[in-house]
């Protein structure tokens, strides 16, 4: 048999202020979680849009010594 006691003011040890401050459930921060996901996706999209693609450029002269020599015609 359980006896439920009413909660009296002296039973409250601490009260936190703020959004969902006294709730330990994930439900109290689910909106923050969504905002975090949205900001993360926004950063991802920004990086994807800002990535610069550079064309491959060949610099310098080709090494003639390493080029395969053409067979001489007899």
């Amino acid at each position: 048999v359980s006896r439920e006691r009413p909660i009296e003011p002296e039973h409250v040890q601490r009260v936190r202020l703020g959004h969902g401050a006294n709730c330990s459930s994930i439900g109290s921060v689910i909106d923050t979680l969504f905002a975090t996901a949205a900001v993360g996706a926004a950063v991802f999209a920004a990086v994807a849009a800002a990535l610069k693609e550079e064309d491959v450029r060949v610099v310098g002269q080709p090494d003639r010594e390493r080029e395969p020599q053409q067979p001489r015609e007899p």
Binding site: H19, S25, I26, G27, I30, D31, T32, L33, F34, A35, A37, A38, V39, G40, A41, A42, V43, F44, A45, A46, V47, A48, A49, A50, L51, K52, E53
Partner: protein, 286 residues
């Protein structure tokens, strides 16, 4: 949003309706009110009469000539029936406004009627009218309720802005890709999309599944915003990548493009929440 407001209004109605639903004695309103009070009570007690349009029309007309509190009670009865069972919103609002303006109405009933007017306007999507009504009669309403009405108007403005931003993003990205197609560089965009797609898929799946699972894990939780946002973010990121691959490579252009794409993702998130679960927005004062 509308559902919650209507539900809130109904709850308040249950709490506050008692003063005018409970039958009163003729003595309370004076001897002149005995006959109107008897007629009003007869209509209240008979469910058929209380829902009969002709009876309610007649009661609305008769109530204008009735004295004191019985007039207020009759108008509230008519308003409640028209707004609820008979869906005559305009007539219901007119009756509620009569109650608000009635000097004989007690403050509780008057405030309740005023709140009902604003609730009905909000439920009908007439947010500007609701905000104007709440602002004009702010002295009869809870300040938080007035602020909530203003917030609804602001939220709708942001929603419109978000839609415009998304449209602008689509036009700019399509324009950039169109120019790339014209100069034969569309293959570059496709190659960039193919490269970015695996990472984008992983990100979208992570957001949808991890967020959706967490949101669904608590009582009355709803993972739909996360699932839908994951599905919406994926094409946006790919479009951003395609646009970035063929767009100008100057630093200002890249910064501007990044800003537009990031804002578009946030706009998509806002539009999603506005459509399916505005309570998320309330957490941020939106």
């Amino acid at each position: 949003m509308r559902t919650s407001l209507v539900a809130l209004g109904a709850a308040v109605a249950v709490l506050l309706a008692a003063p005018w639903v409970c039958p009163r004695t003729a003595v309370a309103d004076g001897n002149d009110a005995s006959a109107p009070r008897a007629r009003l009570d007869a209509i209240r007690r008979d469910p058929l009469l209380a829902s009969d349009p002709a009876t309610l029309d007649a009661l609305a007309l008769e109530a204008d000539g009735w004295p004191g509190q019985v007039r207020v009670d009759a108008r509230m009865l008519v308003a409640e029936a028209w707004l609820g069972r008979l869906h005559r919103l305009t007539g219901g609002i007119v009756e509620l406004r009569k109650v608000v303006d009635d000097p004989e109405a007690d403050p509780v009933t008057s405030r309740f009627a005023e709140r009902q007017i604003v609730d009905v306007l909000v439920a009908e999507g007439r947010l500007d009218d609701a905000a104007a009504e709440a602002q004009e009669r702010a002295n009869r309403l809870d300040p938080r309720f007035v602020a909530q009405t203003r917030r609804l108007v602001r939220r709708r403005s942001i929603w419109r802005g978000a839609l415009m931003e998304l449209a602008g993003f689509a036009v700019l990205a399509a324009s950039g890709l169109g120019r790339a197609w014209g100069r034969g560089a569309l293959g570059k965009a496709l190659a960039a999309v193919r490269t970015a797609a695996p990472v984008a898929i992983l990100f979208a799946v992570y957001v949808a599944c991890a967020g959706g699972w967490l949101a669904s894990a608590y009582e009355s939780g709803n993972g739909a915003p996360f699932f839908l946002f994951g599905a919406a973010a994926f094409p946006l990121v790919l479009l951003a990548r395609a646009w970035g691959a063929v767009g100008s490579t100057t630093a200002p252009a890249r910064v501007l493009r990044a800003g537009v794409c990031a804002t578009s993702v946030l706009a998509a998130a806002f539009v999603l929440l506005y459509a399916i679960n505005p309570t998320y927005l309330e957490g941020f004062g939106l």
